[in-house]
């Protein structure tokens, strides 16, 4: 094994790690925005946002790491995917702007407080939809002709992508609800408990639909799943998913506070593993492999040296900041 073979594999997993960290961590913050309309009043909405206010910024940075990491280590994939998905990415960026500034502006505003709540909510829903469309388009496959995407400005639009978009909204909402169970008590926690089980049913439904649809896509994404003996050694993934669903259901029934959030995270992680296994070794299904898209070892190696030290450091101080802000967030606490 030589460097040009090994390094792209390593970076495939690092980028995958950045993306799943983003999905898990910003996912529950976006979920808060999606669930904002279910709160009783503006003060409850403040309360919801306050549970994430100290940490949302760091969470979102994983997305930037995914983007910059892709540019550094798989520039061809970065260029093809981002320019092909121009419009959904535009929607995501604009939505993230509204979501992000709402955190600062809402607590500075008086008369227009509701307006920035709305911006937070709509921004979160649109971000989730856009990310779901991007995911759907990738999973469905982006056929390239001579290294170029020639499907036009709306090539990503398909029934499958629309379904994954809606699925992501429900998924993030589930993460958000279980986060609220963890971080609040009283009336708000009750609302979150009541939302969790229907959301969970919806997420399971979407997972089944995606799994059923996958074999019929042209992306060959799931070929690995259905050929030869692969099914056997990959079987822990679906089995664990089912087990996870049962545990989550019970945890909510028993009014547990920590377990639902952890199990919802596991839910996402398992789904993600399933996708990554299916995609491998393509970074742009169905045909651009990680080795074709990779930057040279001199680039990948250079960043890897830093990443090897810096990512653990980032994780360490992220854990520190979560510890500082651990425990229930009380109403009225948080923003000065």
């Amino acid at each position: 094994m030589d460097w040009p073979t090994v390094l792209p594999v390593v970076w495939f997993f690092i980028i995958g790690f950045a993306v799943i960290m983003y999905v898990l961590l910003d996912g529950f913050v976006l979920g808060l925005g999606i669930l904002l309309p279910f709160a009783d009043d503006e003060d409850q909405r403040d309360h919801m946002m306050n549970t994430a206010a100290p940490i949302w910024d760091g969470n979102e940075t994983w997305l930037v790491l995914g983007g910059a990491g892709l540019m550094a280590t798989f520039p061809k994939a970065y260029a093809v995917v981002l320019s092909a998905l121009y419009l959904p990415i535009l929607v995501m960026l604009i939505a993230l702007i509204f979501r992000g500034v709402a955190f600062e502006f809402r607590f500075k505003a008086h008369r227009s407080r509701w307006l920035w709540g709305l911006a937070f909510s709509v921004g979160s829903v649109l971000t989730a939809l856009a990310q779901g469309l991007i995911l759907g388009a990738l999973v469905e496959g982006m056929p390239l002709t001579g290294g170029k995407y020639v499907q036009g400005a709306f090539g990503w639009f398909s029934p499958f992508a629309v379904m994954t978009a809606v699925a992501v909204v429900f998924g993030y909402a589930l993460l958000g609800a279980t986060w609220l169970i963890l971080k609040t008590d009283g009336r708000l926690q009750r609302i979150a408990f009541d939302l969790t089980r229907p959301l969970m049913l919806a997420v399971i439904g979407f997972m089944l639909m995606v799994s059923a649809w996958l074999p019929f896509l042209d992306s060959q994404l799931m070929e690995r799943w259905f050929t030869g003996a692969h099914m056997l050694w990959l079987s822990p993934v679906p089995i664990l998913t089912v087990l996870n669903a049962i545990l989550l259901w019970r945890a909510v029934l028993k009014n547990r506070e920590v377990q639902p959030f952890v199990l919802a995270l596991c839910f996402f992680a398992l789904g993600f593993v399933g996708l990554v296994v299916g995609m491998w070794p393509n970074i742009v299904p169905p045909s651009m492999s990680i080795w074709e898209a990779a930057s040279p070892p001199s680039s990948q190696g250079f960043v890897l040296v830093g990443a090897a030290f810096l990512i653990p450091a980032v994780l360490a101080y992220t854990v520190y900041s979560y510890r500082v802000f651990r425990g229930k967030v009380l109403a009225g606490e948080g923003y000065h």
């Binding site: 100290p54 981002l82 960026l93 425990g327």
Partner: protein, 467 residues
């Protein structure tokens, strides 16, 4: 319909011009906050704590806007500049990736502790968080200026099949203009912030509000500017020498110099005419051009006619932007020196005309920063990587209609969002450095002893929380 490339350039200019203001302001305010909190730790007087909380709120709003506009930047290289990403991604990508790993996480994570951790961590830990955020902003400028300087003065690369490959990372990062352009940018950020600090203080003094706090801030801003602006002028001069050495066409555009000549004059004003290759209404000072640009009375400066027409940058934008930047720099210096003199005479906080001059000058740092950036970026055209890759090769192969849609969206959204942000900043400035909440001492960290049982009455979250 304009081409996708042209629309992408407009969009980049628009998005970047907004974006650059906020990181610049946060670089300055973060360092300013670290300074204030350091003094507070030492002196423990209310004045410094109040000032800290005041600037912290302003910092938070500016930081929020910097973050969201920065995310746009990190995706734009792929959406609009896919050609650039494919050809130069091997070199520029790792620099940007290091920015995320060393700077963005540090800033974003410790920002939370800084904004919300006052009652949850010790004084020293809180100060450390402030320092980490400030360090993050500086590291961020390190990497971004490295990447940008590489595009101005590329080094340490090889080209195979039209694609850049890194050959020597040390030379890529510390490319010929980097060590001059980095301090020029960071000092510009500090100066812009100091102009805001001093100008806001002047407003309070004019209204007779927060007189002690405003007086202290004005003196700090003054002293800082009086020391730093001269340094900035020296560094700016060094940056000019680098431009002369590596980007002579840019220098010729800055000076609107058409013919190569020795002992050139300095044009104070002119109307450059690119068609006729000449200047109208020129007001010139003999020999001064050579003296400033070459440090010799009769030095030679290259003219635009030495370059093929399709390798010349547009002239008007660099020419006028440069004059605005330098003019404002000199005005700021004059303001600072005048202030020192009034201070020595003991009339600093009472001279209404002087304080009014400060108020007028508040945005001058930002305007100088923006115009300086335009000089650097427009002056590099038509190249995206100086002399090696054209901007036209860098654009994505996307439909022009998509880019038009995004351009319109960005214009509308940025005007709305950043308009609102600036409104909230004004609101915070209007409120002023009010007494910050007292802190019960000693602080016991909440780790571990937070109760987890739902002992609170269910109605508690419905209690009014005040405004």
């Amino acid at each position: 319909m304009p081409t996708a490339e042209f629309l992408s350039r407009l969009q980049f200019a628009w998005v970047m011009s907004f974006h650059i203001l906020f990181p610049a302001f946060t670089i300055g305010t973060a360092a300013w906050l670290a300074f204030i909190e350091g003094v507070w730790l030492f002196k423990r007087t209310d004045l410094w704590r109040d000032l800290y909380f005041f600037w912290l709120k302003i910092f938070a709003v500016a930081f929020g806007m910097g973050v969201v506009s920065g995310i746009v930047m990190s995706f734009q290289f792929g959406t609009n500049w896919a050609g650039f990403s494919i050809v130069a991604g091997n070199v520029v990508g790792p620099l940007l990736n290091y920015e995320v790993l060393t700077a963005f996480f540090l800033e974003a994570t410790f920002l939370g502790v800084m904004l919300f951790g006052w009652k949850k961590v010790s004084d020293r830990m809180h100060f450390l968080a402030t320092c980490m955020v400030s360090l993050g902003t500086l590291l961020s400028s390190f990497w971004i200026m490295s990447a940008n300087s590489w595009m101005q003065t590329p080094a340490g690369y090889e080209i195979h099949d039209g694609v850049f490959y890194p050959a020597d990372w040390w030379r890529v990062i510390f490319n010929p203009s980097f060590l001059v352009r980095l301090p020029h940018m960071v000092l510009a950020a500090f100066i812009s912030t100091a102009m805001v600090v001093g100008g806001v203080s002047a407003v309070y003094l004019l209204k007779g509000r927060f007189v002690d706090r405003a007086g202290a801030m004005l003196k700090l801003a003054l002293a800082f500017l009086a020391i730093v602006i001269p340094i900035q002028i020296v560094i700016g001069d060094m940056a000019g020498l680098k431009v002369r050495e590596y980007q002579p066409a840019k220098l010729a555009a800055i000076e609107a110099r058409w013919d190569t000549a020795s002992s050139v004059p300095l044009a104070l004003f002119a109307w450059p005419d690119e068609q006729a290759e000449t200047n109208h209404y020129a007001v010139e000072v003999p020999h001064l051009g050579s003296l400033i640009l070459t440090h010799s009375w009769n030095g030679e400066v290259k003219g635009l006619k030495d370059f093929p027409r399709d390798e010349r940058p547009p002239v008007k934008i660099p020419f006028f932007s440069f004059r605005v930047m330098v003019g404002l720099g000199l005005l700021m210096l004059a303001l600072a020196l005048l202030g020192l003199w009034r201070w020595k005479r003991g009339s600093l906080v009472r001279d209404r005309w002087y304080l009014k001059a400060w108020v007028v000058m508040i945005p001058s740092g930002f305007i100088a920063l923006l115009t300086g950036w335009w000089v650097a970026e427009v002056g590099r055209q038509p190249w995206v990587v100086q002399g090696l890759m054209r901007t036209s090769q860098a654009a994505s192969d996307v439909p022009a209609s998509s880019v038009l849609a995004s351009l319109i969206t960005f214009v509308v959204v940025y005007l709305g969002i950043f308009g609102a942000g600036i409104w909230y900043l004004f609101k915070l400035f209007r409120d002023g450095p009010l007494p910050a909440p007292q802190r019960e001492r000693p602080v016991t960290p909440v780790h571990g002893n937070r109760r987890r049982t739902p002992a609170r009455p269910l109605s508690a979250p419905d209690d009014p929380m005040g405004d």
